[in-house]
Symmetry: none
Subunit: 230 residues, 2 copies
């Protein structure tokens, strides 16, 4: 297994979450370690020296904010993506994004988290990858959170953007419905899988009205983004 990508430390007291996130990160080639407590996080940072930490604000012993404070106190500048519950803590975390850190509210979707991971790593210079993705005359810019088709800017909602992004990253590869649902929708989404169809329909209307239709249905399997074949 590939473990020579950037090191990422994942800290949460729920093993379900750390596992989910760790698996997704490993799959993308990151070198991942996990911890379940604030204290564990601090030791892991000094031993593992990760390029990025994903840190739950709510932890059994020392909370995430305090972990950040202690690390800063010790001169440790590792960038952090905080995980927070939707309610509470809102204001506490708000002041945190100033330092280039970021936060994601639970429940999040994997695509959303991965997008933030890339943005933060890019900002901190450890990645030279550009923030732009494209296929034919479709362009997507992560930093600007902007999509263009045929030169025209297209307004997308959050979910539409995540869906398009996931399709674009995997351009040319057929994605199954469950792959898409698992990556683009919140990890505890338990609803009707037909939302996906609704959103594909939205996307087509917004970005696929120009000529070569790029979003293709593979009946009985899933969807692909690609230039039409002869």
């Amino acid at each position: 297994m590939n473990t020579d990508g950037p090191r990422v430390l994942v800290v949460d007291d729920e093993p379900n979450i750390t596992e989910l996130v760790a698996m997704a990160l490993r799959y993308e080639g990151f070198n991942v370690k996990t911890a379940v407590t604030g204290r564990g996080a601090i030791t892991a940072v000094s031993q593992f020296s990760p390029a990025l930490m994903i840190l739950d604000v709510m932890l059994p012993d020392i909370d995430g904010i305090e972990v950040l404070r202690r690390l800063n106190g010790a001169g440790n500048k590792v960038p952090i993506i905080f995980l927070t519950a939707k309610d509470a803590t809102e204001d506490k975390v708000h002041g945190l994004t100033v330092g280039g850190d970021d936060y994601v509210t639970k429940p999040f979707s994997i695509e959303e988290l991965m997008a933030r991971v890339r943005v933060v790593l890019r900002r901190h210079g450890s990645e030279t990858e550009s923030s732009k993705l494209s296929l034919a005359d479709l362009e997507l810019d992560d930093d600007a959170h902007e999509v263009r088709r045929h030169g025209h800017a297209v307004e997308l909602t959050n979910t539409e953007y995540r869906l398009l992004r996931y399709l674009l990253i995997n351009a040319g590869r057929v994605l199954t419905r469950s792959q898409i649902l698992d990556h683009v929708w919140h990890y505890d989404f338990g609803g009707d899988a037909s939302v996906l169809e609704t959103y594909v329909s939205y996307l087509r209307r917004k970005v696929d009205r120009y000529d070569p239709p790029l979003i293709q249905t593979v009946r009985g399997v899933g969807y692909v983004l690609r230039t039409p074949r002869k």
Copy 2:
């Protein structure tokens, strides 16, 4: 019997299923072990250390999800293909394709399962194997779910695709009707065996219109895919 291929562990409480799957895997050169309980699966993983596990979600003692959780907890990263009933479980299995794991709903066809096995092993293991199969000027690309003949893309339905894929994997080997029906159709397919002829006819029309005809009938036995011999 060839047992030096990758190790695969098959776990299901119905012996019919484990046997069916085990036989198909052995036939393709895998080294197979089976288990009937969640506990059995966990011990087997540590003793047999398989490259892949095929795991029923519904088990008498510990369910499949819990098995995954415990293995992960113990730092065991074996990739998994889950087997699930079509109804229910939708939400339980949800979120599993994130780490590169996958699932197949019962009743499945062997060909479908084998395709997933290859995909998962390719993703997790040596990147060496490509997702492409070919014979003469016939090409099949699993990632894109795309077939080309003589350079031209060919539109195939799902069943046509599975059939062609099965013939292509076994190119040069004569397959009997029942082998084909057992592999390409769902294992509880109870219909008329003449569907196969219909589908061979469809395939010939779509992919075998170019010159050297590759799909050959072996009268009284079955079909082969091969370049015609002089």
